[in-house]
């Protein structure tokens, strides 16, 4: 029995002897940066049933031979509710049995039945990826397929967070170049001629079958060896984060297919597993066990507002300089002509160096969101902001003892989509030249409306007797007390942000200030996302009434403020949602 510490990089589960085993992939950053896979066999999946008749429900559930039943007191949209916590033996049992449970006469509804097992673990244990964990465990022999430098530990005690965030993570970027003389690259016939790799681990190289006169080129015999050398580098370096640009939809699927054709082994996972590409909606997602693969392309689409998202365009926007560009449809000519090939090598290296620079700039915020939302970086980097906000609320609901609403049904989703809340107030600007202009802005208008008016689905009421805040224009009523779930959560976020900003002011350490600044930036993004979620059609806490009330109050506040400003001699010449410009007329 030993104490272990490691930064949690990734998480999944496997089945061993019919038992689900949570696997925690991490590195001992305090020690020698050793990779560790920790196994936790103590966790079981569960869902909640809301009974119409508690005793009858317990009786009916007994007959289903479930692992364990437990009556709990929870809240459903604020209302105290007795629920039955139903534990299963294995995560795969949940989808098989939940419909039978839902259909029982004595069951009104089931909840939290579609939360992936590994996410459930992170939520219930209150641990978050990219933070340091500590636990007691016993080191065991690794399975034969596990790479030799990885230690396997069986968790025996409680897994908890030390509260220390990870810094100085190892990042490696990669990019492939394909020789495709006939249109779009086709992995069935167009070979990969180069793979570039670069990172903050003192490594910048292009692996290829040619170019031995160039000092940054590592020459290999053929394409198969090229692929195996790339795999070797990843396994050997074991970066915490492997980044590509459009690598989910292009580089990794292409590599995988070429490797299959050539018979090359690409067992990049810590456990010896292969690269695995999954469908996620309309996109792909490529996972490597233990190494977090981040595709920067979707991250940049979310982060920036540009006309195009080519690597060149993004790089120019971030760093204000141009990088080397070659026409994609004619790269093969550069490869085929000796006098042009060196330029292709420089271009390939430039691609991975640029990708790495982008990663260094943009990943800190994503790491901070990872810690806040509490889901793996692999997932966070592929989530829309609304999804991030939703998983944040799921985590908070667990802490508050609040049942998580189900996702909308298909018909609910369809009917919701047609509706849109009216936006903020805009006063079209007065044309012409104005003198002595003052600019006023509300600080966090919408979040503070949610908090001060207690806008939440659980506080929304038809009860005329309750003491309520009543929304302008629509007349929706929100109980003044108790504090609603979402207002409470937003209040926490804003308070935490204020605390961090105070801490920044009091710190003399530039590195600490930088870290704190990223933290407050992440909180700001989360808070800004939070007020819009009521209007997202797929959102579990969707409420058109709440969304409409927020903007209605927003319009009301700014209009009243403009009117009051007139009394003080300020004439508004232009207003937009949460701010206005006014001239002083005495």
């Amino acid at each position: 029995m030993e104490d272990y510490r490691m930064v949690l990089l990734d998480i999944d589960y496997v089945t061993v002897d019919e038992v689900p085993v949570i696997r925690l992939f991490g590195k001992d950053k305090s020690g020698g940066n050793e990779p560790i896979i920790a196994h936790d066999r103590s966790f079981r999946p569960y869902i909640y049933a809301i009974p119409t008749d508690l005793d009858e429900c317990l009786r009916e559930l007994e007959e289903l031979e479930l692992e364990k039943l437990e009556v709990k007191e929870m809240r459903d949209l604020g209302r105290p509710t007795e629920v039955i916590r139903i534990e299963f033996r294995h995560p795969q049992d949940v989808p098989k049995i939940r419909d039978r449970i839902r259909d029982l006469e004595s069951v009104r509804d089931i909840r939290e039945h579609d939360i992936p097992f590994y996410r459930r673990y992170l939520i219930d244990k209150s641990i978050v990826p990219m933070e340091e964990l500590e636990f007691q465990g016993v080191e065991v022999d690794s399975a034969p397929s596990v790479t030799t430098d990885v230690r396997t530990v069986e968790v025996t005690g409680r897994v908890q967070s030390t509260g220390s965030g990870a810094h100085g993570l190892d990042i490696l970027s990669f990019d492939i170049e394909v020789r495709n003389p006939h249109g779009m690259p086709d992995p069935e016939k167009d070979e990969i001629v180069m793979i570039g790799v670069a990172g903050n681990m003192g490594y910048e190289s292009v692996i290829s079958t040619a170019g031995d006169h160039l000092d940054f080129v590592e020459v290999v015999e053929d394409e198969r060896e090229l692929l195996e050398r790339f795999a070797e580098i990843v396994i050997d370096k074991k970066p915490d984060i492997l980044v590509g640009y459009n690598s989910d939809n292009f580089d990794f699927p292409y590599i995988t297919r070429r490797a299959a054709i050539l018979g090359a082994e690409l067992d990049l996972g810590w456990d010896g597993s292969k690269i695995r590409t999954m469908r996620r909606g309309f996109a792909n997602a490529t996972a490597i066990k233990g190494t977090v693969h981040v595709d920067l392309y979707p991250v940049m689409r979310r982060y920036m507002n540009l006309d195009r998202y080519t690597l060149e365009r993004v790089y120019q926007e971030l760093f204000g300089e141009e990088k080397i560009d070659l026409p994609g449809d004619r790269l093969w000519e550069y490869w085929d002509r000796d006098e042009l090939r060196d330029e292709l090598f420089r271009y390939s290296l430039d691609d991975v160096v640029a990708t790495h620079r982008i990663a260094e700039k943009i990943l800190p915020l994503n790491l901070e969101l990872t810690r806040l939302v509490g889901q793996p970086l692999f997932d966070i980097s592929r989530m829309a902001t609304g999804q991030q906000a939703e998983w944040f609320l799921v985590r908070k609901a667990y802490q508050y003892g609040e049942l998580v609403p189900n996702k909308p049904s298909q018909s609910d989703f369809s009917s919701r989509r047609g509706r849109r809340a009216v936006g903020g107030y805009v006063k079209e600007p007065e044309k012409g030249l104005h003198e002595n202009i003052v600019q006023f802005d509300f600080r966090s208008l919408y979040p503070s409306i949610i908090i001060s008016k207690n806008i939440s689905p659980d506080t929304l009421t038809d009860d005329e007797e309750s003491e309520c805040y009543v929304a302008p224009e629509y007349g929706y009523r929100f109980r003044k007390s108790p504090r609603g779930f979402v207002p409470s959560v937003i209040g926490e976020i804003l308070s935490e942000r204020v605390r961090i900003k105070e801490e920044m002011k009091g710190s003399d350490d530039p590195m600490e200030r930088k870290i704190l600044n990223v933290q407050q930036e992440a909180l700001k993004r989360l808070a800004n996302t939070m007020y819009g979620v009521y209007g997202y059609s797929r959102f579990r806490w969707y409420s058109m009434e709440c969304a409409e009330a927020i903007t209605a109050w927003g319009r009301d506040y700014i209009k009243k403020t403009i009117k009051t400003a007139e009394e003080f001699g300020f004439h508004t010449v232009y207003a937009d949602t949460d701010g206005f410009y006014a001239t002083y007329r005495g």
Partner: protein
Amino acid sequence: MSQLSKVEDEILSQVKRFLKHINSNLPEGMELEFEGFYRRGFFVTKKRYALIEDDTIVAKGLELVRRDWAPIAKKTQRKVLMAILRDGSPEKAREIIREVVGRIRRGDVELDDLVIHTQITRDLSEYKQIGPHVIAAKRSLEKGRRVERGSIVRYIIVKGRGPISQRAFPVEDAEGMGYDPDYYIENQVMAAVSRIMSSLGYSTEDMNSLSSGERQSSLDAFF
């Protein structure tokens, strides 16, 4: 200057009074903040405006900087904005435009003020869209100058018939060639200032008369 400060002080103290009043009535956590004081400004539409703070111009959505503008366009725009925002005189802005247009028409502008700079970011043979900078770069190559990816091409548009692209010449070769007044007036100077002027109530026709050299008089001369 002291008169200006006095006005500003009065306004800022009224701002303080107003904010104190309004914030005392807002819910906790909500706050109306003072974001800035500007001597002058104009708004075109939402998200499109220009303001001046001391001698610094704050502009949004007005396309104030485009990399393919010649110095004469940038300078004229800057002067126009200053006339409007610092001096408070749209009329002075019109005079600036009229004066610049007149100098361009008379051939009275130095070549340095007419040079357009553009960076070449790929092989010349790979450009699908053959813009003026590509034509000028090719002409430079033909003269034996080195032009490669990353090079800055400096060219002017000369007089003549045909598309603008075909009249792009490297500035090194343009000595003695006459520049095209219509191009520099319409595509450079007027393009740089017309949106600003229209936001102040000047119509397209007013701007056309400025660029044509024909002048719409005002009644001021008759008062």
